[in-house]
């Protein structure tokens, strides 16, 4: 399937799930853009939450319900809150100028250019690839399956991830607490 077919698929009949996907995808992308473009960091944070929720919705649509929940809990829940806290802690200027673009315009332009190039190249790669799609139709891979993997084949990463979180916590505490300057 190549890009033309993609376009064609849009003009020809769209199933409901397709429409849903398009809607979700649209929301997600737009909110993501919002994150980037908003001049107020708080707005960005809000957009970010929306994006996370959109991604969660995508998961649901991909029959990854458990993951969707995790996404909502961890991202939309924990991380976003964390961000907001941080923002509150470091807010001292006018909210309107809290989230401006980089000073140097060339950086922004080249950055945009690079981003577009990346997108173009990657899309091309994706479009021209024959994906080894499997015909098997499987239902929602539930938490039990993942649990089995985590405690079975992937126990090492699992344990290491635990250590990683510990490290992160300790580190975050140390860094955030800081030391009294002498």
């Amino acid at each position: 399937m190549n890009l033309n077919d993609v376009v064609a698929a849009f003009v020809t009949g769209l199933t409901l799930s397709d429409v849903v996907f398009i809607v979700i995808a649209g929301i997600t992308v737009l909110s993501a853009l919002g994150v980037v473009l908003a001049r107020n960091i708080v707005h960005s944070a809000v957009f970010l939450v929306i994006t996370f929720l959109g991604v969660a919705a995508v998961y649901f649509q991909l029959n990854a319900g458990f993951l969707g929940l995790v996404q909502i809990m961890v991202y939309a829940g924990a991380i976003s809150v964390l961000m907001i806290f941080a923002i509150m802690l470091v807010m001292d200027v006018e909210p309107q100028e809290t989230n401006l673009f980089n000073k140097s315009v060339p950086t922004i332009l080249t950055g945009g250019y690079v981003g577009v190039l990346f997108f173009a190249g990657m899309t091309g790669a994706i479009a021209f690839t024959k994906w080894p799609v499997s015909s098997v139709k499987a239902g929602d891979a539930g938490a039990d399956l993942l649990a089995g993997l985590m405690l079975g084949k992937y126990v090492v990463p699992f344990e290491v991830a635990a250590i990683l979180l510990l490290v992160a916590v300790v580190g975050a505490i140390i860094l955030a607490r800081g030391v009294e300057d002498k």
């Binding site: 993609v6 996907f21 995808a25 997600t28 992308v29 993501a32 853009l33 994150v35 980037v36 960091i41 960005s44 970010l48 994006t51 991604v55 995508v58 991909l62 990854a64 458990f66 993951l67 995790v70 996404q71 991202y75 964390l82 961000m83 941080a86 923002i87 802690l89 470091v90 809290t98 401006l100 980089n102 000073k103 950086t107 922004i108 080249t110 950055g111 945009g112 690079v114 981003g115 990346f118 997108f119 994706i126 994906w131 799609v133 499997s134 098997v136 891979a141 993942l146 993997l149 985590m150 990463p157 990683l164 979180l165 490290v167 992160a168 916590v169 975050a172 505490i173 140390i174 860094l175």
Partner: protein, 102 residues
């Protein structure tokens, strides 16, 4: 007919947006947000790929979960860093952090 490639394109799009943000935003926290965007994009890839290529193995989701865990940890450390640097420089503006250069 929505297929794998659409999801991947979506992922790529999010990734690129996040990438653009990382390159262009001034506020350290915003940059962290954009990093999160990129990671989410990757997660979309994983989940979609599992759905379409290795259904029922849970591999992609597993990967995604690990990514989420790591992302959380990273955000925690990152924000701690931001706070700590803010404590010193009274600023979260990346343009101001250039003591180290050349």
């Amino acid at each position: 007919m929505i297929g794998l490639s659409h999801y991947l394109v979506l992922g790529t799009m999010l990734f690129s947006i996040g990438l653009f943000g990382v390159l262009s935003k001034r506020n350290a926290i915003a940059v962290l947000m954009c990093v999160e965007l990129m990671l989410n994009a990757v997660n979309i890839n994983f989940v979609a790929i599992e759905k379409f290529i290795t259904p029922g193995t849970g591999l992609g989701q597993l990967f995604a979960i690990f990514v989420i865990v790591v992302a959380a940890a990273e955000v925690a450390v990152g924000l701690a860093l931001v706070i700590s640097i803010y404590r010193q420089k009274k600023s979260v503006n990346l343009n101001d952090f250039n003591l180290l250069k050349w």
